[in-house]
């Protein structure tokens, strides 16, 4: 191949939108709003797994919540016909993530698993990704948080403890994905099996509202789940192509 041809093919490759597509994995989560009870187990499971700091009452009063996954609640109607709907909101790992483009130092980017990765080390704390995120699922470390001894002994050694001035967010428990991949490699398998890896929230969800897996594998449970006719994306109009798919709530009348 001549130099020009090489250049042209390279150019075409680099001009292709969605560069990360067609890799082995595209991790996806579906959340069935019909099954979610809003109990909050996922919130605490995430906090335990990912070393999410305790921010304390004063900080919460100032609106500095730190849960990577949170339950949003929306009321409908008034008493006696009031209805409450829950929706767990976590990083959507958008394929067209507004947060990724805005980071000047590339602290957040799309990795080859289709994850929206956050590199804590690289973050300078402009917080623009949090502004650009329409789902508001990015959380900032306003302080160096402390774990009063011996609470610090619980900290997960597989996950970094973030310092002040760093943005953080849901990683789909990338440390677990990593371990599963290593295990697969040790076993001589090319890919992680379906169901072999689950983020802490999915793992703990008692009502089985969440399914996690690789959507590039058409046999996976998540692939079936995301192709459910009830599937939709939150804030579809923003066109972020999220990797978190919600299944519509079923409303039974009569």
């Amino acid at each position: 191949m001549s130099f020009i041809d090489t250049l042209r093919s390279r150019w075409q490759e680099y001009r292709r939108p969605g560069y990360y597509e067609n890799f082995d994995y595209a991790w996806t989560m579906t959340i069935d709003l019909d099954s979610c009870t809003g109990c909050g187990a996922c919130v605490t499971a995430c906090q335990a797994e990912n070393n999410i700091p305790l921010v304390g009452e004063e900080e919460l009063a100032r609106g500095r919540e730190m849960h990577w996954i949170r339950i949003e609640r929306y009321w409908e109607g008034e008493f006696p016909n009031a209805k409450l709907n829950f929706i767990p909101m976590l990083c959507q790992h958008c394929d067209a993530a507004p947060c990724e483009t805005v980071c000047p130092v590339s602290a957040t980017y799309h990795n080859q698993d289709g994850l929206n990765a956050q590199v804590y080390n690289r973050c300078v704390g402009t917080r623009s990704c949090a502004v650009y995120c329409p789902y508001e699922v990015r959380y900032f470390n306003y302080y160096n948080h402390e774990w009063p001894s011996p609470l610090d002994q619980q900290l997960n050694p597989d996950v970094t403890v973030r310092e002040k001035g760093v943005m953080e967010k849901c990683t789909f428990c990338i440390q677990r994905i990593r371990q599963a991949k290593d295990a697969a490699k040790d076993d001589g398998r090319r890919r992680v099996l379906d169901g072999e890896v689950q983020p802490a929230c999915v793992q703990t969800c008692a009502s089985q509202a969440m399914v996690f897996g690789n959507r590039n594998d058409s046999q996976s449970e998540v692939f079936k789940s995301m192709n459910d006719p009830r599937a939709y994306h939150v804030l579809e109009e923003v066109n972020t192509a999220p990797s978190v798919v919600y299944l519509k709530k079923v409303e039974v009348n009569g």
Partner: protein, 765 residues
């Protein structure tokens, strides 16, 4: 900017100028707290660094007995997850179970035995030998002098071999005062089941296979009996286990987590849930839905409860009642459950009898998706009968006041917090000469102790659990220590065995420790024969059980033949009685178990304090829930501090406008208002239990904690409620999208195709 040492100073002075100053400041700003990496010089054998070890054990955060797997790294517990092979939790866990790590690593844990040197002095550290001998001497002398009955052992509800050990210990001392007290214990449900079926255990409600569940006040997804198992069932049912998407109906005065997840939520007047159940039963029986032999008895017993006549008292229209009845009858696996506030009114037992009788009427006793009775307990007589009622506690308090109690041993339970002020329990305990606490934390009750012998947390000790209600067949699990003890504490079982031996009861307590005792106990289970395949000998069986975390038999419990004699005739739900006149106290007080803090036992766990309440998103505090209409009438807004006044006291808390509570009901979560119990719990919010009237459930004598009337007095002060949520209305943004069951959404668009994933069956009257 602390700690400018000489070198820093010299550096600063030497370099001079603002530049160096700024550099110094910069370095100060970026520096991390000093950390020390202490390597193991000789690492324990069980683990290799960097590789996680998983231990299966039992969760003790509530009484449902979920099996858990604890991930440990380098000898530290890192994460708790459900044990997938355990039938109760099925690999899942609730927020509470997750937070068990913070019991283990709580900074407010007691680190060693302590005693008060003189009256009202501070607790000072002692050695275990001193502590044990001090207590043993006392107990020994009481036992020797035949005053064993003046020793009281007040414990949280435990089951399995630990409960048996307690019983043995107290029996040896010659005391009958072994009291298990739990605020959340579903005492009235036990009575109702006993009344209906003569079974002294909780039945298993098979929600997972049910396709129509009516819950009367039971917050089964969050706080009632076995939330993880129920949630698992809920999810399975919603996904259409039997080809039909499960439908859930909730009847309660204030929307709970389960109410929010239900398809239909109906607000019935507080205490009238039983009447609703009977009205449903009336419709089922009278409209030919029930054809049993005893139909005539039912017709006559239910005659006063026609849906039309009940709609006035219950606040539900007869069409709603009939609709529920039709659906209940028309569904293949319909299930009625009851509890929570419905079971804690003055008519609690009657209400639950009425509710559970519905299951009988549609013939789903012992069936899939129905009410399943549990087999005989494997160890002991089941925990239900041991638990103290409010009346028992009052009797205990009286005995203490009369000086009939010399020694009180506390373990885990916190009655000073969980009993109303009207019980005057704190004052009663103060009369007891020696109060010993075996708790891991200084809570309100333990703070009265003069001798503190702190026990291990459940993640450091041996034990076992035979979960109730379980899953309809015999299961048991062994809980093992997953980490070596953090502090100078001892397992409760070890303390008891040690004490007994010190007293001189070695003959009755021949074991060296709890583990040995447990193994001996499990010999009997091994002897039952259901040891599975491939186990050879007890040791192998034991190791398998410990490794798997669970043992089980597939034998079902007895299929109920029918109801006990005379039950049908006695079916009757009296109107609830509330303390206080409706003129002075216009509102019914509806305290409820907090979704995050349980009955207050989880208030010392920072994760639980920071977990937003599912329904209100409030963290770190108490609040009073008012219907928007009521708030409007009283001219109150969110954050206005009000005083809730009952005939027996008053508490203050800020107002939260809650859209789904009846206008004449005032809701308030239980859990906050600790005065002790560590840095995360103490001095936060207020405790609604304080102001409850000592209104009793008529049959069991337990506290009817939903039977108090209150008045609301504005104080004029306000605070900003600390919550994580903003505006909880969608404002037309279609964040949570829905699809109608009839294939049409609000716009009338056809969505029939979307329903193909979940078959929905709609029963219409």
């Amino acid at each position: 900017m602390s700690g400018i040492d000489r070198r820093d100073f010299l550096k600063l002075a030497g370099a001079g100028g603002a530049g160096a100053g700024a550099g110094f400041m910069m370095r100060e700003s970026t520096k991390h707290p000093v950390e020390h990496l202490v390597p193991y010089t000789s690492s324990p054998e069980e683990f290799s660094p960097g590789i996680a070890t998983w231990y299966n054990t039992v969760c003790s955060m509530c009484s449902s007995g979920c099996g858990i797997s604890v991930r440990t790294r380098e000898g530290r517990a890192k994460k708790i997850e459900g044990n997938p092979s355990h039938p109760v939790s099925q690999g899942r866990l609730c927020a509470h179970g997750q937070a068990g790590l913070q019991v283990l690593y709580n900074p407010d844990r007691l680190t060693g035995p302590m005693a008060r040197t003189a009256d009202n002095e501070d607790l000072l550290p002692i050695t275990w030998d001193e502590g044990i001998s001090q207590l043993a001497t006392r107990l020994g002398s009481l036992q020797a002098s035949g005053q064993g009955d003046s020793v009281c052992f007040l414990s949280e509800g435990v089951d399995g071999h630990l409960a048996a050990l307690y019983e043995r210990f107290m029996a040896q001392l010659g005391s009958s005062r072994l009291v298990h007290y739990d605020f959340t214990h579903p005492r009235t449900l036990y009575s109702a089941i006993e009344k209906l079926f003569g079974d002294s255990q909780l039945p298993y409600y098979d929600i997972g296979n049910a396709d129509y569940v009516v819950s009367f006040g039971a917050d089964y997804l969050s706080t009632w009996i076995s939330p993880v198992n129920h949630s698992f069932g809920f999810g399975s049912s919603r996904k259409g286990v039997n080809g039909v998407r499960g439908r859930f109906v909730q009847i309660e005065p204030r929307m709970s987590v389960s109410g929010a997840s239900a398809d239909d939520w109906f607000a019935a007047n507080p205490g009238t849930e039983g009447m609703v159940a009977l009205a449903i039963a009336n419709h089922i029986v009278n409209e030919g839905g029930y054809q049993g032999d005893d139909r005539d008895a039912w017709v006559s017993a239910l005659a006063p409860y026609s849906p039309a006549s009940m709609s006035q008292a219950t606040g539900l229209s007869s069409s709603v009642i009939i609709g529920i009845a039709e659906s209940f009858l028309g569904s293949q696996h319909s299930l009625a459950i009851g509890g929570g506030s419905a079971g804690n009114n003055t008519n609690g037992v009657d209400t639950l009898v009425a509710v559970n009788a519905l299951n009988y009427l549609v013939g789903n006793l012992g069936n899939e998706g129905g009410l399943i009775l549990n087999p005989e307990p494997v160890v002991g007589s089941g925990s239900g009968t041991l638990r103290a009622t409010y009346t028992d506690m009052i009797e205990l308090a009286e005995a203490a006041r009369d000086g009939r109690i010399q020694v009180l041993i506390l373990s885990g339970t916190n009655p000073v917090f969980n009993l109303p002020d009207a019980a005057e329990f704190r004052e009663a305990i103060a009369q007891i000469p020696l109060v010993v606490s075996l708790s891991s934390f200084i809570d309100e009750t333990s703070s009265l102790a003069s001798l503190v012998l702190p026990s291990h947390t459940y993640l450091e000790s041996w034990g076992d659990s035979f979960p109730e209600p379980g899953v309809g067949f015999s299961i048991g699990s062994v809980s093992q220590p997953v980490v070596s003890p953090l502090f100078n504490t001892r397992a409760t079982g070890d303390i008891i065995i040690n004490l007994a031996q010190e007293i001189g009861l070695s003959a009755a307590f021949p074991w060296s420790d709890m583990e040995e005792y447990l193994k001996e106990g499990w010999q009997q289970i091994y002897a039952r024969g259901n040891t599975g395949d491939g186990t050879e000998g007890f040791e192998s069986f034991w190791n398998d059980v410990v490794r798997a975390g669970v043992w089980g038999e597939t034998t079902r419990g007895p299929s109920p033949e029918g109801l006990l004699e005379g039950v049908i005739e006695s079916i009757d739900v009296a109107p609830p009685e509330f303390s206080g006149s409706s003129a002075n106290y216009p509102f019914v007080f509806h305290p409820y178990i907090s979704d995050t803090l349980e009955d207050g036992g989880a208030a010392n766990l920072p994760w639980m304090q920071e977990l937003p309440d599912p329904l209100t998103s409030i963290v770190y505090g108490s609040w009073v829930e008012l219907n928007p209409l009521t708030a409007n009438e009283l001219n109150l807004e969110e954050g206005d501090i009000v005083e809730v006044e009952s005939p027996h006291g008053r508490v203050t808390a800020p107002v939260f406008i809650y859209p789904a509570i009846m206008p004449n009901v005032i809701g308030m979560p239980i859990g906050q208002g600790h005065t002790d119990y560590g840095r995360y719990a103490s001095g936060r919010g207020s405790n609604p239990i304080q102001i409850l009237s000592p209104q009793l459930e008529t049959e069991t004598g337990d506290l009817a904690w939903a039977a108090t009337r209150v008045a609301i007095n504005p104080t004029g002060r306000r605070v900003e409620i600390v919550k994580t949520g903003g505006v909880s209305r969608e404002l037309g943004r279609e964040i949570i999208q829905k699809v109608g069951a009839d294939g049409a959404d609000a716009d009338g668009a056809d969505h029939a195709a979307e329903l193909s994933s979940i078959p929905v069956k709609v029963v219409r009257s």
